[in-house]
Amino acid sequence: MVQAHLELPDLSPPPVLVVSDLRKTYRETVAVDGVSFAIPPGEIVGLLGPNGAGKTTIVNIILGVLEPNTGSIRIDGIDLLRRRSAALAFTNFSAVYAALPGNLTVEQNLRVFGLIYEVPALAERIEDLLVRFDLVRFRGAKSGVLSSGEQTRLSLAKALLNRPKLLLLDEPTASIDPSAAREIRDLIRAFAEENASAVLWTSHNMYEVEEVCHRVLFLSRGRVLLEGDPKLLPHEHGAATLEDLFVKVARERLHPEHS
Protein backbone atom coordinates (compact mmCIF):
# COMPACT_ATOMS: atom_id res chain seq x y z
CA MET A 1 0.00 0.00 0.00
CA VAL A 2 1.31 3.40 -0.94
CA GLN A 3 1.13 5.91 1.86
CA ALA A 4 0.09 9.39 0.83
CA HIS A 5 2.60 11.97 2.01
CA LEU A 6 0.73 15.09 3.00
CA GLU A 7 2.79 18.27 3.33
CA LEU A 8 1.26 20.83 5.64
CA PRO A 9 1.37 24.37 4.37
CA ASP A 10 3.53 26.80 6.32
CA LEU A 11 0.97 28.84 8.24
CA SER A 12 3.44 30.99 10.13
CA PRO A 13 3.15 34.62 9.09
CA PRO A 14 5.94 35.93 6.86
CA PRO A 15 8.53 38.06 8.64
CA VAL A 16 8.03 41.82 8.64
CA LEU A 17 11.77 42.44 8.47
CA VAL A 18 14.32 40.26 6.71
CA VAL A 19 17.94 41.39 6.85
CA SER A 20 20.27 39.25 4.72
CA ASP A 21 24.05 39.25 4.81
CA LEU A 22 24.40 42.94 5.49
CA ARG A 23 27.87 44.45 5.21
CA LYS A 24 28.96 48.06 5.59
CA THR A 25 32.48 49.43 5.59
CA TYR A 26 33.88 52.93 6.03
CA ARG A 27 37.18 52.83 4.18
CA GLU A 28 39.13 50.14 6.10
CA THR A 29 36.71 50.02 9.05
CA VAL A 30 34.14 47.23 8.95
CA ALA A 31 31.05 48.53 10.74
CA VAL A 32 28.68 45.67 9.88
CA ASP A 33 30.00 42.32 8.77
CA GLY A 34 27.56 39.79 7.31
CA VAL A 35 24.58 40.36 9.61
CA SER A 36 21.39 38.39 8.92
CA PHE A 37 18.20 38.15 10.93
CA ALA A 38 14.42 38.29 10.56
CA ILE A 39 11.63 39.58 12.77
CA PRO A 40 8.11 38.13 12.51
CA PRO A 41 4.98 40.16 13.30
CA GLY A 42 4.51 40.94 16.99
CA GLU A 43 8.05 40.09 18.03
CA ILE A 44 10.26 42.55 19.90
CA VAL A 45 13.94 41.97 19.20
CA GLY A 46 16.69 43.60 21.20
CA LEU A 47 19.83 44.62 19.33
CA LEU A 48 22.56 44.69 21.94
CA GLY A 49 26.24 45.38 21.93
CA PRO A 50 28.91 47.74 23.18
CA ASN A 51 29.36 51.20 21.71
CA GLY A 52 30.66 50.93 18.16
CA ALA A 53 29.37 47.38 17.70
CA GLY A 54 27.31 48.42 14.69
CA LYS A 55 23.81 48.80 16.17
CA THR A 56 23.10 52.33 14.94
CA THR A 57 24.68 51.53 11.57
CA ILE A 58 22.21 48.66 11.16
CA VAL A 59 19.30 50.89 12.24
CA ASN A 60 20.40 53.60 9.77
CA ILE A 61 20.61 51.07 6.95
CA ILE A 62 17.11 49.76 7.71
CA LEU A 63 15.87 53.38 7.78
CA GLY A 64 17.22 53.93 4.27
CA VAL A 65 19.60 56.74 5.22
CA LEU A 66 22.69 54.58 4.79
CA GLU A 67 23.43 52.21 1.94
CA PRO A 68 25.09 48.88 2.68
CA ASN A 69 28.02 47.65 0.58
CA THR A 70 26.29 44.30 0.16
CA GLY A 71 23.22 42.53 1.47
CA SER A 72 19.51 43.12 1.27
CA ILE A 73 16.62 44.28 3.45
CA ARG A 74 12.99 43.41 2.93
CA ILE A 75 10.29 45.22 4.87
CA ASP A 76 6.91 43.52 4.59
CA GLY A 77 8.28 41.78 1.51
CA ILE A 78 9.40 45.00 -0.18
CA ASP A 79 13.06 45.40 -1.16
CA LEU A 80 14.21 48.56 0.64
CA LEU A 81 17.10 49.27 -1.72
CA ARG A 82 14.90 49.09 -4.81
CA ARG A 83 11.63 50.55 -3.48
CA ARG A 84 12.74 52.76 -0.63
CA SER A 85 9.62 54.93 -0.40
CA ALA A 86 7.18 52.00 -0.45
CA ALA A 87 9.17 50.07 2.16
CA LEU A 88 9.55 53.04 4.50
CA ALA A 89 5.80 53.73 4.41
CA PHE A 90 5.47 50.68 6.71
CA THR A 91 8.31 51.77 8.99
CA ASN A 92 8.86 54.38 11.67
CA PHE A 93 11.47 55.08 14.30
CA SER A 94 12.43 56.91 17.42
CA ALA A 95 16.05 57.57 18.29
CA VAL A 96 17.60 59.43 21.16
CA TYR A 97 19.84 61.33 18.70
CA ALA A 98 17.02 62.40 16.32
CA ALA A 99 14.90 64.91 18.20
CA LEU A 100 12.03 66.43 16.26
CA PRO A 101 12.49 70.08 15.18
CA GLY A 102 12.42 72.14 18.35
CA ASN A 103 11.02 75.19 16.54
CA LEU A 104 7.70 73.47 15.75
CA THR A 105 5.04 72.79 18.35
CA VAL A 106 4.13 69.28 19.43
CA GLU A 107 0.97 69.30 17.33
CA GLN A 108 2.70 70.84 14.29
CA ASN A 109 5.41 68.18 14.36
CA LEU A 110 2.82 65.41 14.50
CA ARG A 111 0.83 66.97 11.66
CA VAL A 112 3.86 67.43 9.38
CA PHE A 113 5.09 63.86 9.89
CA GLY A 114 1.53 62.51 9.72
CA LEU A 115 1.19 64.07 6.27
CA ILE A 116 4.54 62.64 5.18
CA TYR A 117 3.39 59.17 6.25
CA GLU A 118 -0.04 59.84 4.66
CA VAL A 119 -1.84 58.85 7.86
CA PRO A 120 -5.60 58.52 7.28
CA ALA A 121 -7.90 60.49 9.62
CA LEU A 122 -4.82 62.34 10.80
CA ALA A 123 -6.56 64.75 13.20
CA GLU A 124 -8.10 61.88 15.20
CA ARG A 125 -4.84 59.95 15.18
CA ILE A 126 -2.98 62.96 16.57
CA GLU A 127 -5.58 63.41 19.33
CA ASP A 128 -5.32 59.73 20.21
CA LEU A 129 -1.53 59.88 20.46
CA LEU A 130 -1.54 63.14 22.42
CA VAL A 131 -3.76 61.45 25.00
CA ARG A 132 -1.88 58.16 24.97
CA PHE A 133 1.51 59.83 25.50
CA ASP A 134 0.21 62.41 27.97
CA LEU A 135 1.06 65.30 25.66
CA VAL A 136 -2.32 67.06 25.51
CA ARG A 137 -1.21 69.96 27.68
CA PHE A 138 1.91 70.44 25.53
CA ARG A 139 0.17 70.44 22.15
CA GLY A 140 0.86 74.14 21.56
CA ALA A 141 4.33 74.14 23.13
CA LYS A 142 7.47 74.29 20.99
CA SER A 143 9.11 70.88 21.07
CA GLY A 144 12.46 72.46 21.95
CA VAL A 145 11.20 73.66 25.33
CA LEU A 146 10.00 70.23 26.44
CA SER A 147 11.96 68.23 28.99
CA SER A 148 13.97 65.32 27.62
CA GLY A 149 11.31 62.90 28.86
CA GLU A 150 8.54 64.85 27.14
CA GLN A 151 10.59 65.00 23.95
CA THR A 152 11.03 61.24 24.12
CA ARG A 153 7.26 60.80 24.44
CA LEU A 154 6.76 63.10 21.44
CA SER A 155 9.32 61.18 19.40
CA LEU A 156 7.53 57.93 20.25
CA ALA A 157 4.14 59.45 19.40
CA LYS A 158 5.61 60.38 16.00
CA ALA A 159 6.97 56.86 15.64
CA LEU A 160 3.51 55.35 16.10
CA LEU A 161 1.66 57.84 13.85
CA ASN A 162 1.40 55.48 10.87
CA ARG A 163 0.90 52.30 12.96
CA PRO A 164 4.15 50.95 11.50
CA LYS A 165 4.55 47.27 10.74
CA LEU A 166 8.20 47.75 11.62
CA LEU A 167 9.17 49.99 14.53
CA LEU A 168 12.83 50.86 15.11
CA LEU A 169 13.74 52.18 18.53
CA ASP A 170 17.30 53.31 19.19
CA GLU A 171 17.65 53.69 22.97
CA PRO A 172 14.10 55.02 23.33
CA THR A 173 14.17 55.33 27.12
CA ALA A 174 17.75 56.59 27.48
CA SER A 175 16.81 60.02 28.78
CA ILE A 176 13.75 59.37 30.90
CA ASP A 177 13.17 58.42 34.53
CA PRO A 178 12.42 54.81 35.56
CA SER A 179 8.71 55.44 36.08
CA ALA A 180 8.23 57.08 32.68
CA ALA A 181 10.43 54.40 31.10
CA ARG A 182 8.15 51.68 32.46
CA GLU A 183 5.09 53.43 31.01
CA ILE A 184 6.83 53.76 27.66
CA ARG A 185 7.77 50.08 27.66
CA ASP A 186 4.16 49.13 28.42
CA LEU A 187 2.89 51.36 25.63
CA ILE A 188 5.27 49.93 23.06
CA ARG A 189 4.58 46.35 24.12
CA ALA A 190 0.84 46.97 23.85
CA PHE A 191 1.30 48.60 20.46
CA ALA A 192 3.31 45.66 19.13
CA GLU A 193 0.68 43.19 20.35
CA GLU A 194 -2.34 45.15 19.08
CA ASN A 195 -0.88 45.84 15.64
CA ALA A 196 1.25 42.72 15.22
CA SER A 197 4.19 45.04 14.62
CA ALA A 198 7.78 43.91 14.57
CA VAL A 199 10.03 45.96 16.83
CA LEU A 200 13.81 46.30 16.71
CA TRP A 201 14.99 47.82 19.99
CA THR A 202 18.50 48.90 20.91
CA SER A 203 19.23 49.62 24.54
CA HIS A 204 22.04 49.54 27.08
CA ASN A 205 19.53 48.89 29.87
CA MET A 206 19.67 45.11 30.29
CA TYR A 207 16.81 45.08 32.79
CA GLU A 208 14.64 46.76 30.17
CA VAL A 209 15.74 44.38 27.44
CA GLU A 210 15.00 41.33 29.58
CA GLU A 211 11.57 42.69 30.43
CA VAL A 212 10.50 43.73 26.94
CA CYS A 213 12.32 41.69 24.30
CA HIS A 214 11.27 38.24 23.12
CA ARG A 215 14.69 37.71 21.59
CA VAL A 216 18.05 39.45 21.60
CA LEU A 217 20.93 39.67 19.15
CA PHE A 218 24.35 40.37 20.65
CA LEU A 219 26.53 42.32 18.27
CA SER A 220 30.27 42.61 18.51
CA ARG A 221 32.56 44.16 15.92
CA GLY A 222 29.73 44.24 13.40
CA ARG A 223 28.80 40.57 13.75
CA VAL A 224 25.96 38.79 15.51
CA LEU A 225 27.81 36.91 18.25
CA LEU A 226 24.88 35.46 20.20
CA GLU A 227 21.15 35.17 19.68
CA GLY A 228 18.35 33.89 21.88
CA ASP A 229 15.83 34.42 24.65
CA PRO A 230 17.13 37.14 27.00
CA LYS A 231 15.91 35.16 30.01
CA LEU A 232 17.76 31.96 29.01
CA LEU A 233 20.80 33.30 27.18
CA PRO A 234 22.89 34.28 30.25
CA HIS A 235 22.69 30.78 31.78
CA GLU A 236 23.42 29.13 28.43
CA HIS A 237 26.69 31.08 28.28
CA GLY A 238 27.80 30.86 31.90
CA ALA A 239 26.72 34.32 33.01
CA ALA A 240 24.55 35.14 36.00
CA THR A 241 22.62 37.96 34.35
CA LEU A 242 22.11 39.53 30.95
CA GLU A 243 24.26 42.44 32.11
CA ASP A 244 27.09 40.06 32.99
CA LEU A 245 26.78 38.50 29.57
CA PHE A 246 26.85 41.96 27.99
CA VAL A 247 30.03 42.85 29.90
CA LYS A 248 31.60 39.55 28.82
CA VAL A 249 30.80 40.23 25.16
CA ALA A 250 32.06 43.82 25.45
CA ARG A 251 35.36 42.67 27.01
CA GLU A 252 35.82 40.12 24.28
CA ARG A 253 35.60 43.03 21.89
CA LEU A 254 38.29 44.90 23.78
CA HIS A 255 40.50 41.80 24.12
CA PRO A 256 39.79 39.80 20.98
CA GLU A 257 42.76 37.47 21.61
CA HIS A 258 40.82 35.98 24.55
CA SER A 259 37.70 35.29 22.56
Binding site: N60, S85, T105, E118
Partner: protein, 267 residues
Protein backbone atom coordinates in the same frame (compact mmCIF):
# COMPACT_ATOMS: atom_id res chain seq x y z
CA UNK B 1 4.75 62.03 -6.40
CA UNK B 2 2.31 62.34 -3.48
CA UNK B 3 0.63 65.71 -2.91
CA UNK B 4 0.30 65.19 0.88
CA UNK B 5 4.03 64.71 1.28
CA UNK B 6 4.79 67.81 -0.80
CA UNK B 7 2.24 69.72 1.31
CA UNK B 8 3.95 68.48 4.49
CA UNK B 9 7.29 69.99 3.45
CA UNK B 10 5.64 73.32 2.58
CA UNK B 11 3.45 73.25 5.72
CA UNK B 12 6.53 72.87 7.91
CA UNK B 13 7.88 76.10 6.39
CA UNK B 14 4.52 77.86 6.80
CA UNK B 15 4.51 76.93 10.50
CA UNK B 16 8.02 78.35 10.87
CA UNK B 17 7.08 81.65 9.22
CA UNK B 18 3.76 81.97 11.02
CA UNK B 19 5.40 81.75 14.41
CA UNK B 20 8.47 83.88 13.80
CA UNK B 21 8.71 87.61 13.09
CA UNK B 22 12.45 87.22 12.55
CA UNK B 23 11.70 85.05 9.53
CA UNK B 24 8.88 87.23 8.16
CA UNK B 25 10.53 90.68 8.44
CA UNK B 26 13.45 89.87 6.04
CA UNK B 27 10.90 89.00 3.35
CA UNK B 28 10.04 92.72 3.27
CA UNK B 29 12.93 94.55 4.88
CA UNK B 30 15.91 93.91 2.58
CA UNK B 31 14.00 94.41 -0.63
CA UNK B 32 12.48 97.62 0.74
CA UNK B 33 15.95 98.94 1.62
CA UNK B 34 17.27 98.02 -1.83
CA UNK B 35 14.39 99.68 -3.64
CA UNK B 36 14.73 102.82 -1.52
CA UNK B 37 18.49 103.05 -2.13
CA UNK B 38 18.36 102.38 -5.86
CA UNK B 39 15.24 104.48 -6.27
CA UNK B 40 17.12 107.56 -5.04
CA UNK B 41 20.22 106.68 -7.08
CA UNK B 42 18.04 106.39 -10.20
CA UNK B 43 16.32 109.68 -9.42
CA UNK B 44 19.70 111.40 -8.97
CA UNK B 45 21.02 109.96 -12.24
CA UNK B 46 17.91 111.26 -14.01
CA UNK B 47 18.73 114.74 -12.70
CA UNK B 48 22.33 114.78 -13.94
CA UNK B 49 22.05 112.71 -17.14
CA UNK B 50 21.00 113.96 -20.55
CA UNK B 51 17.25 114.22 -20.89
CA UNK B 52 15.45 111.47 -22.82
CA UNK B 53 16.66 108.47 -20.86
CA UNK B 54 14.77 107.37 -17.77
CA UNK B 55 16.83 105.49 -15.17
CA UNK B 56 13.79 104.52 -13.11
CA UNK B 57 12.58 101.70 -15.38
CA UNK B 58 16.12 100.86 -16.58
CA UNK B 59 18.05 100.78 -13.33
CA UNK B 60 15.46 100.53 -10.56
CA UNK B 61 13.48 98.01 -12.64
CA UNK B 62 16.64 95.92 -13.07
CA UNK B 63 17.39 96.04 -9.35
CA UNK B 64 13.83 94.99 -8.60
CA UNK B 65 13.91 92.03 -10.97
CA UNK B 66 17.36 90.94 -9.78
CA UNK B 67 16.21 91.14 -6.16
CA UNK B 68 13.29 88.93 -7.16
CA UNK B 69 15.70 86.27 -8.47
CA UNK B 70 17.72 86.53 -5.24
CA UNK B 71 14.53 86.13 -3.17
CA UNK B 72 13.58 82.99 -5.11
CA UNK B 73 17.05 81.52 -4.59
CA UNK B 74 16.92 82.32 -0.89
CA UNK B 75 13.36 81.00 -0.63
CA UNK B 76 14.54 77.54 -1.73
CA UNK B 77 17.84 77.54 0.12
CA UNK B 78 16.53 78.95 3.41
CA UNK B 79 13.77 76.33 3.46
CA UNK B 80 16.47 73.69 2.96
CA UNK B 81 18.69 75.25 5.63
CA UNK B 82 15.85 75.02 8.15
CA UNK B 83 16.38 71.25 8.04
CA UNK B 84 20.15 71.75 8.41
CA UNK B 85 19.76 74.10 11.37
CA UNK B 86 17.30 71.87 13.20
CA UNK B 87 19.28 68.68 12.42
CA UNK B 88 16.20 67.25 10.82
CA UNK B 89 17.64 65.20 7.95
CA UNK B 90 17.30 61.87 9.72
CA UNK B 91 13.67 62.56 10.60
CA UNK B 92 12.85 63.75 7.08
CA UNK B 93 14.74 61.22 4.98
CA UNK B 94 14.01 58.11 7.07
CA UNK B 95 10.42 58.45 5.84
CA UNK B 96 8.68 57.60 2.53
CA UNK B 97 9.41 61.17 1.39
CA UNK B 98 11.01 61.17 -2.07
CA UNK B 99 13.63 63.69 -3.15
CA UNK B 100 11.32 65.04 -5.87
CA UNK B 101 8.60 65.63 -3.24
CA UNK B 102 11.08 67.32 -0.91
CA UNK B 103 12.32 69.65 -3.66
CA UNK B 104 8.75 70.46 -4.74
CA UNK B 105 7.93 71.42 -1.15
CA UNK B 106 10.94 73.77 -1.08
CA UNK B 107 9.89 75.32 -4.43
CA UNK B 108 6.34 75.96 -3.21
CA UNK B 109 7.80 77.74 -0.18
CA UNK B 110 9.98 79.84 -2.48
CA UNK B 111 6.99 80.77 -4.67
CA UNK B 112 5.11 82.17 -1.67
CA UNK B 113 8.04 83.96 -0.01
CA UNK B 114 9.36 85.47 -3.27
CA UNK B 115 5.90 86.69 -4.29
CA UNK B 116 5.64 88.51 -0.97
CA UNK B 117 8.98 90.17 -1.71
CA UNK B 118 8.00 90.98 -5.31
CA UNK B 119 4.71 92.57 -4.31
CA UNK B 120 6.45 94.63 -1.64
CA UNK B 121 9.02 95.87 -4.17
CA UNK B 122 6.39 96.64 -6.80
CA UNK B 123 4.27 98.61 -4.35
CA UNK B 124 7.20 100.62 -3.00
CA UNK B 125 8.82 101.26 -6.40
CA UNK B 126 5.50 102.40 -7.86
CA UNK B 127 4.40 104.51 -4.91
CA UNK B 128 7.73 106.20 -4.08
CA UNK B 129 9.49 106.37 -7.47
CA UNK B 130 6.75 106.07 -10.06
CA UNK B 131 8.05 102.81 -11.54
CA UNK B 132 5.43 101.32 -13.81
CA UNK B 133 5.81 97.84 -15.19
CA UNK B 134 3.31 98.72 -17.90
CA UNK B 135 6.39 100.09 -19.69
CA UNK B 136 7.69 96.55 -20.19
CA UNK B 137 4.41 95.38 -21.77
CA UNK B 138 3.68 91.72 -22.27
CA UNK B 139 7.37 90.87 -21.96
CA UNK B 140 7.13 91.31 -18.20
CA UNK B 141 5.56 87.87 -17.77
CA UNK B 142 8.38 85.92 -19.45
CA UNK B 143 10.95 88.21 -17.73
CA UNK B 144 9.60 87.22 -14.32
CA UNK B 145 9.21 83.58 -15.36
CA UNK B 146 12.83 83.24 -16.55
CA UNK B 147 14.18 84.89 -13.39
CA UNK B 148 11.94 82.72 -11.22
CA UNK B 149 13.09 79.49 -12.89
CA UNK B 150 16.74 80.57 -12.70
CA UNK B 151 16.35 81.38 -9.00
CA UNK B 152 14.83 77.92 -8.41
CA UNK B 153 17.70 76.23 -10.27
CA UNK B 154 20.31 78.18 -8.29
CA UNK B 155 18.52 77.45 -5.01
CA UNK B 156 18.41 73.71 -5.68
CA UNK B 157 22.05 73.61 -6.84
CA UNK B 158 23.20 75.68 -3.86
CA UNK B 159 21.31 73.44 -1.44
CA UNK B 160 22.93 70.39 -3.02
CA UNK B 161 26.35 71.97 -2.45
CA UNK B 162 25.53 72.51 1.23
CA UNK B 163 24.30 68.92 1.48
CA UNK B 164 27.58 67.73 -0.01
CA UNK B 165 29.97 70.02 1.88
CA UNK B 166 28.27 70.14 5.29
CA UNK B 167 26.51 72.74 7.46
CA UNK B 168 29.51 75.10 7.60
CA UNK B 169 29.27 75.67 3.84
CA UNK B 170 25.98 77.58 4.04
CA UNK B 171 27.88 80.83 3.49
CA UNK B 172 28.28 79.62 -0.09
CA UNK B 173 24.60 80.33 -0.75
CA UNK B 174 24.45 83.99 0.20
CA UNK B 175 26.84 85.58 -2.33
CA UNK B 176 25.57 83.54 -5.30
CA UNK B 177 23.52 86.40 -6.84
CA UNK B 178 26.45 88.80 -6.41
CA UNK B 179 28.79 86.35 -8.15
CA UNK B 180 26.45 85.99 -11.13
CA UNK B 181 25.33 89.61 -11.44
CA UNK B 182 28.46 90.94 -13.25
CA UNK B 183 28.01 88.31 -15.98
CA UNK B 184 24.23 88.65 -16.21
CA UNK B 185 24.34 92.28 -17.32
CA UNK B 186 21.92 93.40 -14.65
CA UNK B 187 23.12 97.01 -14.47
CA UNK B 188 24.76 97.43 -17.88
CA UNK B 189 24.48 95.92 -21.37
CA UNK B 190 26.27 92.60 -21.91
CA UNK B 191 28.11 94.29 -24.82
CA UNK B 192 30.04 96.31 -22.19
CA UNK B 193 31.80 93.14 -21.07
CA UNK B 194 34.99 91.64 -22.50
CA UNK B 195 34.58 88.72 -24.88
CA UNK B 196 35.18 85.93 -22.37
CA UNK B 197 32.61 87.40 -19.98
CA UNK B 198 30.11 87.78 -22.81
CA UNK B 199 30.57 84.08 -23.60
CA UNK B 200 29.56 83.28 -20.02
CA UNK B 201 26.68 85.75 -20.21
CA UNK B 202 25.18 83.89 -23.14
CA UNK B 203 24.85 80.85 -20.85
CA UNK B 204 22.98 82.83 -18.19
CA UNK B 205 19.20 83.15 -18.68
CA UNK B 206 18.96 86.51 -16.82
CA UNK B 207 21.25 88.18 -19.39
CA UNK B 208 18.49 87.77 -22.01
CA UNK B 209 15.97 89.32 -19.62
CA UNK B 210 18.02 92.40 -18.79
CA UNK B 211 19.13 93.05 -22.36
CA UNK B 212 15.49 92.82 -23.44
CA UNK B 213 14.36 95.08 -20.63
CA UNK B 214 16.84 97.80 -21.54
CA UNK B 215 15.89 97.56 -25.24
CA UNK B 216 12.22 98.08 -24.36
CA UNK B 217 13.04 101.10 -22.17
CA UNK B 218 15.12 102.65 -25.00
CA UNK B 219 12.36 101.80 -27.52
CA UNK B 220 15.08 99.96 -29.43
CA UNK B 221 14.31 96.99 -31.67
CA UNK B 222 14.41 93.74 -29.77
CA UNK B 223 13.60 90.20 -30.81
CA UNK B 224 11.44 88.66 -28.10
CA UNK B 225 12.41 85.23 -29.42
CA UNK B 226 15.83 85.70 -27.79
CA UNK B 227 13.96 85.35 -24.51
CA UNK B 228 13.02 81.83 -25.59
CA UNK B 229 16.72 80.95 -25.32
CA UNK B 230 16.74 82.27 -21.76
CA UNK B 231 13.60 80.32 -20.96
CA UNK B 232 14.99 77.11 -22.44
CA UNK B 233 18.27 77.56 -20.55
CA UNK B 234 16.49 78.16 -17.25
CA UNK B 235 14.38 75.00 -17.68
CA UNK B 236 17.53 73.07 -18.58
CA UNK B 237 19.29 74.36 -15.45
CA UNK B 238 16.40 73.29 -13.23
CA UNK B 239 16.66 69.76 -14.63
CA UNK B 240 20.44 69.76 -14.14
CA UNK B 241 20.12 71.16 -10.59
CA UNK B 242 17.52 68.51 -9.66
CA UNK B 243 19.75 65.74 -11.03
CA UNK B 244 22.71 67.25 -9.15
CA UNK B 245 20.73 67.31 -5.88
CA UNK B 246 19.63 63.70 -6.38
CA UNK B 247 23.19 62.58 -7.11
CA UNK B 248 24.53 64.37 -4.03
CA UNK B 249 21.76 62.79 -1.93
CA UNK B 250 22.68 59.34 -3.26
CA UNK B 251 26.33 60.01 -2.47
CA UNK B 252 25.33 61.08 1.06
CA UNK B 253 23.33 57.86 1.58
CA UNK B 254 26.05 55.65 0.09
CA UNK B 255 28.91 57.11 2.11
CA UNK B 256 27.09 57.71 5.40
CA UNK B 257 27.27 61.50 5.06
CA UNK B 258 23.51 61.84 5.55
CA UNK B 259 23.46 59.75 8.73
CA UNK B 260 26.47 61.66 10.11
CA UNK B 261 25.69 65.01 8.53
CA UNK B 262 26.75 67.16 11.45
CA UNK B 263 30.17 65.54 11.43
CA UNK B 264 30.57 67.16 7.95
CA UNK B 265 32.36 64.04 6.75
CA UNK B 266 31.19 60.54 5.92
CA UNK B 267 34.05 58.89 7.83
Amino acid sequence: MRARRVAAVALRQFYLYSGSATRVVPLFAWVAIDITLWGFISRYLNSVALPGYNFIPALLGAVLLWDFLARVLQGVSTAFLEDVWSRNFLNMFATPLQISEYICGLVITAVVTSLIGLLTMLALAAAAFGLSFVAYGAALVPFVLVLFLTGIALGIAGSAMVLRLGPASEWFLWPMPALIAPFAGVYYPVSTLPGWMQAISRLLPPSYVFDGMRAIVRHAPWDMRSLAIGLALSVLYIVIAAIFFRQVYRFAVRTGLLARYNAESPS
